[in-house]
Symmetry: C2
Subunit: 372 residues, 2 copies
């Protein structure tokens, strides 16, 4: 079955992973006379015109973006010209994403900290890996879902894309603690992987960079359209009254100054900007050289507690309140916080269907685990 | 989508998980005049008669059994009258199987040690769990695939079935290190789980026993038919010449005395029986009160290194040689070992298609992790 799926090599086919398993409400076309923006969609080659709700119009104007419904458009958005997507590469990347034998111990995979079952992260404060070692700066694992939309990767934004990012944790001592040699030797020891490299990249040379390119390609497909996207795309019923109120507050108070774009986040910004961060004493992370910190995506925020770069609070209401203090210099009322949190709930998206991979059997040349 | 699948409540439907994703060769009907056993199959209600290869006949006579092709028959075989299978229970069990929040740390699930991607186990010698603690007896994680066919669970056979077995590792200090309270409170804190308990069990009372019953139900579906089953079912081309030679040797030398039944293993037997076990010094496990040890299944043995209860060798050839010495009191030749290992390769089965679950989001009442 694996073999067969590798034969369908088209770029469009690769994106079918995104549309499978979705269970979103059918989009309804409800024109409203007072809406200034119209969007032409060419789904199924039948042009449709959607007239947007004024709040959706405003949200788009200030920079909030919906994940494209059109698969060609989405594909262009998530692709990387230096690592073009194809189905074989995505499937190989999925296998390597779930591959614990890339780690020194054989116990830790990308999915250990960025668990696709639990919001794309790990439900603990400080990422914990090899030998049960916590991140030395008390950094929290960010979600991998929609990470493709971030302009930089890692909390200090040190890497430009997912392919480069994937090179880090595999080798990091407190994470997978591996070596490039172990990764390459492990992959080379299993003929199925080698032939998959050939299908993915056109030749069967196994390199560390290509392994992480495959992982990055898979991660690019992990986008999660939600009711909020439906709303921006013209479904005025996509948001409840409380959620609309929350979105309005989110815009009016200035949250969308940083939480914008497809990810509602992903750029580098000062943190804290104007007020003191009450949990600054948890860990020692102070951002990049200029004190900038990557803005976390708000998509699936309901599933990605605990919050902040140091995972300091499990309470989303508190996190929103703190953001008002540190970034906007304002005290949000409980009611404002509640409506913003309601709005954030609309960002819980449909996850792509992931068929759990069956990985090749180790061979006599597969490097042995080392738990020390 | 999850919700929808829960509505299909029939027992037959539940078994569809077993047949999806399989990529076995079509069974061919090749009668051979010298075969004494015929098998009537009622697949698709068209009775077919298959005439068996003499070696298949012999294998069946001495107690090797094929995983039923007929789904009703398979369903009867894997069901538990004290925990009847249904689709909702299997789906809930799958979620709990992959649920790291059942563990004390939020980091370890059943799938951590019994990884369905890597042969249903963990590719390390001694199971390692909470706080990176190795099993105190240096016991190796057995595969969960086909564990339903074992007459007893655990290396010392102390539990009678998968439902009871599942109660152990969740609470064990070196494994998931949880408490019944944490498990129950975690499940109860997420409304989706509570409603799934109702669908699975007819009422929404959440108990530790029911959680492990659901996990056991899921595990019952993890059976992996292979080319060997095709061979026993009448496909004489299911095994190569070398594999046939290996099966013949396997029977002639007496391996099938203990490695028989559906699992080619699963009963309690003396170990070592007649010779000294060269790795007896690795760990201190000596079997049950009578010195009996559970015979590991040979299905998927190519994927479940390292071998023996203490994971003492990664070399299947060496493991076979040792078994000749300890259990049969014979020195198998290299050629005999090679052909037996070739035969064992025919036991690598098709894994059921597992859609990786999307677990419910934690709520304010979900117990927090404790990594200590």
């Amino acid at each position: 079955m694996m073999k067969k799926s590798l034969l369908s090599f088209s770029l469009i086919a690769s994106i079918s992973i995104l549309s499978t398993g979705c269970d979103q409400k059918p989009k309804e076309n409800k024109p409203q006379d007072n809406s200034p923006i119209t969007v032409n969609l060419t789904d199924n080659k039948e042009p449709k015109t959607k007239v947007l709700d004024p709040l959706a119009t405003k949200a788009i104007e200030i920079g909030l973006k919906s994940i494209p419904e059109d698969l060609n458009e989405l594909n262009k958005l998530i692709d990387n010209k230096n690592n073009p997507l194809n189905q074989a590469k995505i499937e190989l990347g999925k296998m390597l994403y779930f591959e614990p034998r890339l780690s020194k111990s054989n116990l830790i995979s990308c999915n250990s900290c960025h668990n696709l079952a639990t919001g794309g992260d790990d439900d603990i404060s400080s990422a914990t890996g090899h030998k049960w070692t916590a991140n030395p700066h008390h950094l929290n694992s960010p979600t991998v879902y929609n990470a493709v939309f971030a302009s930089r990767q890692f909390w200090d934004g040190r890497d430009p894309d997912l392919e480069k990012q994937a090179q880090g944790p595999i080798l990091a001592g407190p994470e997978m603690a591996s070596t490039k040699e172990k990764v390459i030797d492990t992959i080379k020891s299993m003929p199925e992987y080698v032939s998959r490299f050939k299908e993915a990249f056109g030749n069967d040379e196994v390199t560390y960079e290509k392994a992480t390119m495959a992982i990055g390609a898979f991660e690019r497909t992990l986008v999660t359209p939600s009711r909020f996207d439906n709303f921006l795309n013209g479904d005025a019923t996509g948001l409840s009254a409380e959620e609309r109120k929350g979105l309005q507050t989110f815009i009016d108070k200035g949250c969308s100054t940083c939480h914008n774009g497809y990810a509602l986040g992903g750029s580098m910004q000062p943190f804290p900007a104007v007020g003191k961060y009450k949990y600054a004493n948890v860990g020692d992370f102070k951002g990049d050289a200029n004190g900038l910190v990557k803005v976390p995506t708000l998509r699936n925020i309901m599933e990605t507690a605990p919050y902040f770069h140091n995972g300091a609070t499990w309470d989303l209401n508190e996190a929103v309140k703190i953001m008002g203090q540190t970034q906007l210099g304002i005290e949000l009322t409980d009611s404002e916080v509640a409506s913003i949190v309601a709005f954030l709930g609309s960002l819980t998206g449909e996850k792509p269907l992931i068929k759990y991979p069956v990985l090749p059997a180790s061979t006599s040349t597969t490097p042995k685990p080392n738990l020390n």
